[in-house]
């Protein structure tokens, strides 16, 4: 026997996270903490206790995320560098947005979002080209474009945050307060969740499908900005002036993003299924991941979405208790959140306890996205209620 029993299974262990940390991980933690401390020293005076707690929690979450998913660190550093650059270019005057070269063409809130939009649309095309041409290189380009789009979008939000304070200290607020801003957030989060699974499953074949939804969101965003001037920063109505908004809205959009991912994986499943039945050894069948894997990914996305949507709805209830006098008022937006939630609960039960797989689940995930879309957009357009959030 050439190997000792100890060596035989070497490398297969799964040590606890803290045992795997290296120098870079420690540096990362220190850097994030330094950033958080800096923010606190600088802006702590205008934060209430809850906001300080949110800052701390976000810092810790970012550290953990960076440890668990290394590419996130590069992204964070890029976004931080670009945002600080923009903030530095601005100085104290919003007027520079039109005159400063870098701001105007690269990193003002609005320009960065334009870059994000362009990159997302280009990445969609690139992912499909990579799929059809079976080109590893183009696939890598598509992924790089998606990462860059996320970086630009996040930078756009960060800079927009700063811009709102430059407009007036009482106007400043986190940019998750209207439909325009949350569409950016939706695009970003959907892309990030997708990129995570792209790494985990080592396949770029789904990129085009998922980015189709993002491209649709981006198209809406551009239309909304150009035709309605929605990109203008507006002060917050009193109902939205709460720290709850800072956590409720992002949690919601992690949910929406994950549901969108699940739906598009469902579409890929259906496309593949159809193709396989026609040409079992055809082109699509050979390029998309196998059905079981898609099924698994779809479940993971729904589970992630369900978990965060649960949290978001609970946070919404806590906020409502503070703002409207009751944790549940059957307001249309609330009610539709419940409908979305029940829908996915039923989906999960069918899968887990009934063992449903494949076509019905894929169709259901796609329909689920439409239900979600109604909760997110339709309610604002067609139903009136207490939510003072983004009318069209």
């Amino acid at each position: 026997m050439s190997v000792t029993p100890q060596d035989l299974l070497k490398g297969l262990e799964k040590p606890p996270l803290w045992k795997t940390l290296g120098v870079f991980d420690v540096l990362w933690a220190l850097l994030v903490l330094a950033g958080a401390v800096f923010s606190w020293l600088r802006y702590g005076a205008s934060m209430d206790d809850y906001e300080a707690a949110i800052l701390l929690a976000s810092g810790l979450a970012l550290i953990a995320l960076g440890w668990a998913w290394k590419p996130l660190r590069v992204l964070t550093l890029m976004v931080a560098a670009l945002s600080l650059f923009a903030i530095w270019r601005y100085g104290d005057s919003l007027k520079l947005a039109d005159s400063d070269f870098f701001l105007r063409f690269l990193v003002s809130g609005q320009s960065a979002v334009m870059w994000m939009s362009a990159l997302f649309i280009a990445a969609t095309a690139a992912y499909f080209i990579a799929l059809f041409m079976r080109s590893e290189f183009i696939g890598r380009v598509a992924a790089a474009m998606t990462w860059s789009a996320v970086a630009m979008g996040l930078t756009g939000l960060m800079v927009r945050w700063r811009e709102s304070y430059l407009m007036g200290s009482d106007i400043g607020h986190i940019p998750v307060s209207n439909l325009y801003e949350v569409f950016i957030l939706f695009s970003l989060l959907t892309a990030l969740i997708y990129l995570y699974y792209e790494g985990r499953y080592r396949t770029r074949a789904l990129g085009g499908f998922v980015l189709l939804v993002i491209s649709a969101a981006v198209t809406f965003l551009l239309w909304y900005a150009w035709s309605r001037g929605a990109d203008r920063i507006q002060p917050l109505v009193p109902a939205l002036q709460s720290y709850w908004m800072k956590i409720h809205v992002p949690a919601n959009f992690i949910g929406y993003g994950a549901f969108a991912l699940a739906a598009m994986v469902g579409v890929a499943w259906l496309v593949r299924d159809r193709a396989v039945r026609r040409h079992p050894h055809g082109f699509i069948a050979s390029r998309l991941p196998e059905a079981g894997e898609l099924d698994d990914l779809m479940y993971k996305a729904v589970a992630l979405g369900f978990a965060f949507f649960t949290v978001a709805t609970i946070l919404g209830a806590l906020w409502a208790a503070e703002a409207w006098g009751g944790y549940w008022s059957w307001d249309p937006k609330e009610t539709w959140a419940l409908i979305v939630w029940l829908n996915y609960a039923a989906w999960l039960h069918m899968r887990l306890t009934r063992g449903w797989r494949g076509a019905p689940m894929a169709w259901w995930a796609v329909i689920g996205l439409f239900v979600t879309l109604f909760a997110f957009l339709g309610v604002n357009m067609f139903l009136s209620g207490l939510h003072s959030y983004g009318e069209l």
Binding site: L8, V237, A303, E322, Y327, P332, I339
Partner: protein
């Protein structure tokens, strides 16, 4: 078997079947879907509107059907409550049925598994190696620990079984999630209006539908002070106080007394530089017999006051009875001076008109009116239109029209108008009459112009002048028709001032054959415009406006706007224009006061739900077995396992292990 025993066993099995049914997945999914569908209905059909609105929308037949179905208050209806109750029941039974098993499972390594059953697993692999069994056991044990499994071993002479598991708390996730649903529903039941409805069903409570002061509401519509849970609202004018709140219930309301008094000292709205509201705040004083000194607190949106388990929220604001100083200018007939009226919001006054007295009901006053207006690029901008007041004008037969008058002029496309809106029913939007104002921003010029149309002498003179001038221009000299022409011109003006151009057209329709109407109408309107222009020049003259070169652009546009406004007066319907000349602003703060003892239970349920969901999804429970046999100097190892929640991840783990072992050990086919 004796018949009684057999009946007994049949009963038992019926109960078991019921139990089975109530805890079944099919029922659970059906209930989830039913709640979702009912909720959709509740959002698509606006809830808790006045019955009158539904009646108009659906007509008497469907109104009644929907009312019986409880669709106007879906979430409070008996059938919706019943579905929720079934969900709670079904979930509870589900928990009862599954939990004991799951708890047992959590602790059970299933060490006494049969080799036969392992061999039938979907994920399994078998190898042969010369490595001694004890060493294999140590090797696999090390791997299991390094992967986070806990395991137990059973050893016999020539065989060892290792049973491992990981993520067993995933099962607790099931328990937490589902018990959370029960906890939340039960907690919410405390806070919902079920107790109230029960009391109503028992005949101990009846909503009041008349508009009475709180003190006069009869006992049957009052709730006890110690009512543990309610959600009511009250509007308190600045400087006043209240010790009750009102609960809306279908077509009426209930009165809920409070054990303390709330006074609103001051209510404030702050605005951003752009004019949008920035904050709503009330300075409250709580007077409570249990306290020595009053409690003073400021509340704002998102910052309620919690006092003795009562939560007091800033929820709205309204007028608190502002004083209004009004000048009522006669429009039709437009003669005489203004009537001066002193009014108060929510009070009534009387307006003397030619048709007798009309009741003037003041309904609202607003200091700011921030309205969206398109800017030059077509984007919406917000603009303050200034103070406005609303009133209803009711005639002797009880019919009313609703008006909304702005105090200051507003600019549209470079010209300024005062706006007065009118509607005949609350279901309609206001239609606005634009009255042009003169250089000083006053409606006086318009009123004077309108009054001139009622000045018979002046109209006759203007008609004569116009006739003479046109006769002269055309070279006509027929004194015998002059009188007729002048009279028909006067008639045109009379028609116009009461009914606008529409009345002029009607006049033509009465007198002229169809094929000439268009031509004649055109001629009439031209003549009419000439006289109106004539009168207008005269007016400018008396105002001292220099018109030597003809009227300027501004004056011409004013005439056009004034004519358009008079044209619309017929539809406007009020014989007076009510001008707001001053006001004493008093606001009322709208408070929502609630008591929700179930809240903490619900929040506890939220915590359980959150923990449960994450445990369930992110703690993946896995089991593995290794069956190790030593025979003839060869060790045979059978590995099998399953991962419940994320089978793919488990498969990867399993295949990594088996690949590695396969590199060193001999893989047995069929294993």
């Amino acid at each position: 078997m004796k018949p009684s025993a057999s009946r007994h066993s049949r009963q038992l099995s019926a109960a078991a079947v019921l139990f089975e049914f109530l805890g079944s997945m099919n029922l659970a999914i059906t209930l989830l879907v039913a709640i979702a569908v009912a909720s959709v209905v509740g959002t698509v059909l606006q809830q808790n509107q006045p019955y009158q609105d539904y009646l108009i929308k659906f007509g008497p037949f469907w109104f009644d059907v929907f009312k019986r179905l409880g669709l106007y208050n879906v979430y409070g209806s008996a059938w919706f409550m019943a579905i929720l109750a079934f969900l709670v029941l079904s979930t509870s039974i589900c928990i009862l049925r599954h939990t004991p098993n799951m708890l047992r499972e959590m602790r059970n390594y299933r060490l006494n598994v049969q080799r036969r059953s392992l061999a039938s697993f979907h994920l399994r692999r078998e190898w042969e190696t010369t490595m001694p069994a004890a060493e294999v056991q140590r090797l696999l044990g090390g791997w299991l620990s390094a992967r986070g499994y806990r395991y137990r071993t059973r050893e016999a002479e020539d065989q060892r079984v290792m049973a491992a598991m990981k993520g067993r708390f995933s099962k607790l996730g099931y328990f937490f999630t589902h018990i959370a649903i029960v906890v939340i529903c039960v907690g919410a039941l405390f806070d919902g209006n079920l107790p109230l409805r029960l009391r109503e069903a028992a005949g101990k409570l009846k909503p009041e539908t008349r508009d009475l002061p709180a003190a006069e509401v009869p006992a049957i519509s009052r709730l006890p002070v110690d009512n543990p849970s309610f959600r009511g609202s009250v509007s308190i004018p600045e400087g006043s106080s209240a010790n009750v709140v009102f609960l809306r219930l279908r077509e009426g309301y209930l009165v809920q007394p409070l054990p303390f008094t709330v006074e609103v000292k001051d209510f404030r709205i702050e605005h951003y530089a752009t004019g949008q509201p920035k904050s709503f705040e009330s300075d409250l004083v709580i007077r409570d017999p249990q306290r020595e000194a009053p409690l003073e607190r400021t509340i704002a949106v998102n910052h309620p006051l919690i006092y003795r388990g009562y939560a007091i929220y800033q929820s709205s604001f309204s007028d608190g009875g502002s004083g209004l100083h009004i000048a009522a200018w006669p429009l039709r007939p437009a003669a005489g001076e203004a009537q001066r009226i002193e009014g108060k919001v929510f009070e009534n006054s009387t307006l003397q008109t030619a048709q007798g007295p009309m009741t003037l009901e003041f309904t609202d006053f607003r200091l700011f009116n921030i309205n969206p207006v398109p800017d030059r690029e077509g984007h919406r901008r917000h603009k303050n239109f200034g103070p406005s007041f609303s009133f209803k004008l009711r005639n002797a037969t009880g019919q009313a029209r609703e008006y909304e008058n702005y105090m200051s002029p507003v600019e549209f496309q470079g010209r300024r108008y005062v706006l007065t809106g009118m509607r005949t029913s609350p279901a309609e939007p206001f239609r606005y009459l634009h009255i042009p104002v003169d250089d000083r921003g006053s409606v006086q010029r318009f009123l004077r112009f309108n009054a001139m149309l009622y000045d018979g002498e002046r109209v006759r003179k203007a008609a004569e002048d116009a006739t003479d001038r046109s006769f002269e221009r055309l070279g006509v000299n027929r004194p015998e028709v002059r009188g007729d022409v002048v009279r028909s011109m006067q008639r045109l003006v009379e028609r116009f001032r009461t009914g606008g151009f529409g009345a002029v057209a009607a006049l033509v329709d009465e007198r002229v054959p169809a094929d000439q109407r268009e031509q004649v109408t055109e001629a009439y309107i031209k003549v009419l415009r000439t006289i109106l222009g004539e009168l207008y020049l005269e007016l400018l003259d008396t105002e001292g406006v220099h018109t030597g070169q003809g009227a300027g652009d501004a004056e011409r546009l004013f005439l056009r706007d004034a004519v358009a406004a008079i044209d619309a007066l017929g539809a406007y319907g009020s014989p007076f224009y009510l001008q707001l000349t001053g006001y004493d602003f008093v606001q009322a703060s709208g408070l929502e006061i609630t008591r929700a003892p179930g809240k903490n239970v619900v929040y506890f349920g939220f915590a359980l739900l959150t923990v449960g969901v994450f445990l369930m999804f992110y703690v993946s429970s896995r089991r593995m077995w290794f069956w190790i046999e030593r025979r003839n100097g060869v060790t045979r190892v059978l590995a099998a396992g399953m991962g419940s929640r994320h089978p793919h991840d488990f498969e990867r783990e399993f295949s990594l292990l088996s690949e590695r072992l396969g590199q060193h050990w001999k893989v047995l086919e069929g294993g």
